[in-house]
Structure formats: structure tokens, C-alpha cells
């Protein structure tokens, strides 16, 4: 009896160990899995179809954000001033920028009615540490281009930039951030972001 229990315990531990090692999903498979999951939920959830933005925000937060490297995204958008910001300021920048990005993504998702996501062929070598995964959201009318830049971090792939309709988000925010920092410093940028997030949360 005892022997059997020990054997099953051992084999369970071995099995767990094996799945841990296999947890590295390919970047395009990861994007396909996450996008399909999110779009399926958006299409089937009545509250979201009725326009409940709060619910979409929660959805994006729980399903998409864990796969995003936020520090890199924020640091790239802030540019050379990132170095001059204190760790506390960096954290606040990250938090506010995250809210902004989630709302941007969620806002785009409110438009989903009957679309599907199609992956385009991955153009990357097997050992590339950074890849671009290209997808298209197809529905009525012209397909919407939606690309992701991912980097390998450990055994996982993390998103660090998103492209919608030809516009890379980090690039897009770079000049806005630079202008704000130029006129009001890093504190001014944080304040502006916080103010914008608060205002949008009210609508």
C-alpha cells in the first residue's frame, strides 16, 4: 500500500516537472491563443456586447497583461528620461501607462462584433530573441492589421509593443511623452497621465 502511494507521488512529481519544462509556448501560438480567447469572450459576453467597458478592461487585465513586459514598454516610450527618473517615479509611470494601454486595447475591442483573428506567417529564426508576430482581425470590410513585438524572457515570451493599423504604440507615445517631459518634467508627465486616466474612467 505504502509502496504504491510512494510510486504515485513520485510519478506525479515527475509529470509536473515535465510539464514545467514544456511551458515555453511559441510566440505566434501564444498570440493566437490569447487573441482567440479574448475575442471569443468579447463576442459571447452579453454585458460586453452591450458596451460595458469596465468588463472589457478587467478582461484585458487578466488575460492579456500577464504576457506584457510593462517595464520595457514604459521605458521605451519615456526614452532617455527614464534614467533620470527615480525608481518610485518609474513605478508610477509604469502604473499609469498600464492603465492607458489597457484602456486603448479595451476600446478597440468594443468594436468587435463578428471578427476573427488570423495569424500571418512568422518571419523569424528559431533562436531570435525578439520577434514580430503579425495578425489580422478580419470581419466586415478591410482587415485590421494588429502586430505584436515579443521578446524572450526566460522561458516565456512577453509583448513589449503593439501595432494597430500600421502605428506602433510605443513610437506613438514617444513624442507625446517627450513633449510633456520637456515642458513639465517627469512629474508633469505622471500628473498628466493620472489626470487623463481619471477623466476617462468617469466617462
Amino acid at each position: 500500500m505504502l509502496f504504491k502511494q510512494v510510486i504515485s507521488a513520485l510519478s506525479m512529481t515527475l509529470a509536473l516537472g515535465a510539464t514545467q519544462a514544456q511551458s515555453a509556448v511559441a510566440p505566434d501560438a501564444l498570440i493566437k491563443q490569447v487573441s482567440t480567447e479574448v475575442i471569443d469572450i468579447v463576442k459571447s459576453d452579453k454585458a460586453i456586447q452591450a458596451g460595458d467597458v469596465g468588463k472589457i478592461v478587467t478582461l484585458v487585465d487578466t488575460k492579456v497583461m500577464p504576457h506584457v513586459n510593462f517595464q520595457r514598454m514604459t521605458a521605451s516610450a519615456v526614452g532617455r528620461h527614464w534614467r533620470t527618473a527615480t525608481p518610485e517615479q518609474q513605478k508610477r509611470l509604469q502604473d499609469e501607462f498600464k492603465i492607458l494601454i489597457v484602456r486603448t486595447y479595451a476600446g478597440a475591442l468594443t468594436q468587435v462584433k463578428d471578427q476573427t483573428v488570423q495569424l500571418k506567417p512568422l518571419r523569424a529564426g528559431a533562436d531570435d530573441p525578439e520577434v514580430v508576430v503579425r495578425t489580422e482581425v478580419k470581419g466586415k470590410g478591410e482587415p485590421i492589421q494588429l502586430d505584436y513585438r515579443l521578446e524572450k524572457s526566460g522561458s516565456e515570451w512577453k509583448i513589449y509593443d503593439v501595432n494597430v493599423l500600421g502605428v506602433w504604440l510605443v513610437e506613438q507615445y514617444k513624442s507625446s511623452f517627450a513633449q510633456e517631459i520637456g515642458s513639465a518634467g517627469v512629474e508633469g508627465l505622471i500628473a498628466k497621465l493620472a489626470e487623463r486616466n481619471k477623466a476617462a474612467a468617469k466617462t
Partner: protein, 246 residues
């Protein structure tokens, strides 16, 4: 007397150029930022006062079927222009596909009212003369905002006469029809952008900068059909710390 007034005009011109130059320290591709911001402000005012309410009313009052019919007819004309531009850009396959779209929608979609081609899987690949010029190697040039017409670049402005000539309004014979069709197309476009406009209001820190950078990035991407070459890394991003393993 005339020499003095000439000098005064010249001085005024120099002051304007200097102002434009000072503003241009912000962004490489926007030497006309002074003028652009003024026109942008005017357009925003006009939009808030007239265009947006009319488009919102249009969306609320006119049934979806009628609105999509209107959109489809305008888009059908656009598809014809896209086909011509694809030929000019040396893309015969795409041109043939767009021609198929126009033919299918005009014949089976009752004059373009119904977008039958999309249901059949023939996708739209929008092209215009501005993109053709870009394809031929003409750089976009400085950003410029026009009253009512909105954001553009020097290259896209040069293409405007041709791009605007292909709309139903331009092909009509009397003034009344022309103005009517122009207005309808404008309202149709604005109604289509109502949600996007709200989103931009929420997420943009500086709406002018956001729309400018978005416009320029999108046009660059369109010229390369969604696959533009990487821009050279600016010195800024080299200072960003490498990804920290979580």
C-alpha cells in the same frame, strides 16, 4: 512708401518663419507646427460645433441599412481608384482583385449598395495617389493640416487634386448635386469615425501630437502595404534599460 510696406511685409514673413522654426525644435517632420496647430484648433472647433453633432444625428436617425448602403457606394468608387493606383504601382494582381470587387459590387450589389465582394472573400486593399507617389519614391515631407480636410503631408497634398477627383461628387454635372454628395460623403466619413474619435479623446495626452504622429505612421505603413522597413533607432531608446527577467 511702397518700399517701407514691402520691408514690413518681409519682416512679418521673417517673423513667421522664425516662429515656425522655433516650434520645429519639437519634431523633425513638423516645421509648420505653428500653422498646423492653428488650423487644427479651427478644425476641432468646427467639428465640435457642426460636424460631430450632424454625424451623431445622422447615425441616430438614419437606419443602419441605408447608412451602410451609402458607405458602400462611396467605397465602391474608392475601390475603382484603388485599382487604378495599384496598376500605377505595378501590382497587377491586386489591381485585378480590386476590379473584381467593383464589378461584383456594381452588378450583384445593385450599383454598389451591397458589399457582396467582401462576403465572397475578395478583400479590399485601399490605395490612393498619395500612396502611389510614395511607392514611386517621393518622401512624405512635412506634416500639414488643412481647414476641413484635416491632416495631410506635402506629398499627400500634391496628390489631393487627383484623389479628390475620383469621388462621386466630382463626377456630377451640376453644383447642387456636387455639394450634396460632398456633404453626404463628409458626414458618412465622420459618422464612421465617431467611436475612434472618442477613443482618441480618452487616450491622447496631446490630441494634436497624437493625430499627427498616428497619421504619419499610418501613411508610411500604407505606402509599404503594412510592412514598412524598420526606422533607425533614435538615441533615446538606446538608453532604455534591457528587459529585466521577472
Amino acid at each position: 512708401m511702397s518700399l517701407r510696406s514691402n520691408l514690413r511685409t518681409g519682416a512679418a514673413g521673417l517673423v513667421l518663419l522664425a516662429a515656425a522654426g522655433a516650434a520645429s525644435a519639437q519634431s523633425a517632420n513638423d516645421p509648420l507646427e505653428g500653422w498646423n496647430r492653428v488650423v487644427f484648433g479651427f478644425n476641432e472647433g468646427l467639428d465640435a460645433a457642426v460636424l460631430k453633432p450632424v454625424a451623431t444625428g445622422y447615425k441616430a436617425v438614419v437606419p443602419e441599412l441605408v447608412r451602410s448602403g451609402v458607405s458602400n457606394v462611396f467605397a465602391n468608387f474608392g475601390d475603382g481608384w484603388s485599382a487604378i493606383n495599384q496598376l500605377l504601382q505595378g501590382k497587377p494582381v491586386a489591381a485585378a482583385q480590386m476590379t473584381m470587387r467593383v464589378a461584383t459590387n456594381t452588378l450583384f450589389g445593385i450599383g454598389g449598395l451591397f458589399d457582396v465582394a467582401s462576403d465572397l472573400g475578395i478583400e479590399r486593399q485601399q490605395e490612393d495617389f498619395g500612396q502611389t507617389l510614395g511607392r514611386w519614391g517621393l518622401p512624405a515631407g512635412p506634416y500639414i493640416v488643412w481647414p476641413l480636410l484635416g491632416p495631410s503631408s506635402i506629398r499627400d497634398t500634391a496628390a489631393m487634386p487627383l484623389d479628390l477627383s475620383w469621388r462621386p461628387a466630382a463626377l456630377s454635372h451640376d453644383d447642387a448635386t456636387r455639394y450634396g454628395l460632398s456633404t453626404l460623403q463628409l458626414i458618412d466619413v465622420r459618422a464612421g469615425l465617431l467611436t475612434a474619435g472618442r477613443l482618441v479623446d480618452e487616450i491622447a495626452l496631446d490630441k494634436y501630437v497624437f493625430i499627427r504622429d498616428g497619421y504619419l505612421a499610418r501613411r508610411r505603413s500604407l505606402v509599404y502595404d503594412g510592412d514598412p522597413p524598420e526606422l533607425p533607432e533614435s538615441n533615446d531608446s538606446k538608453d532604455a534599460p534591457p528587459a529585466a527577467p521577472k
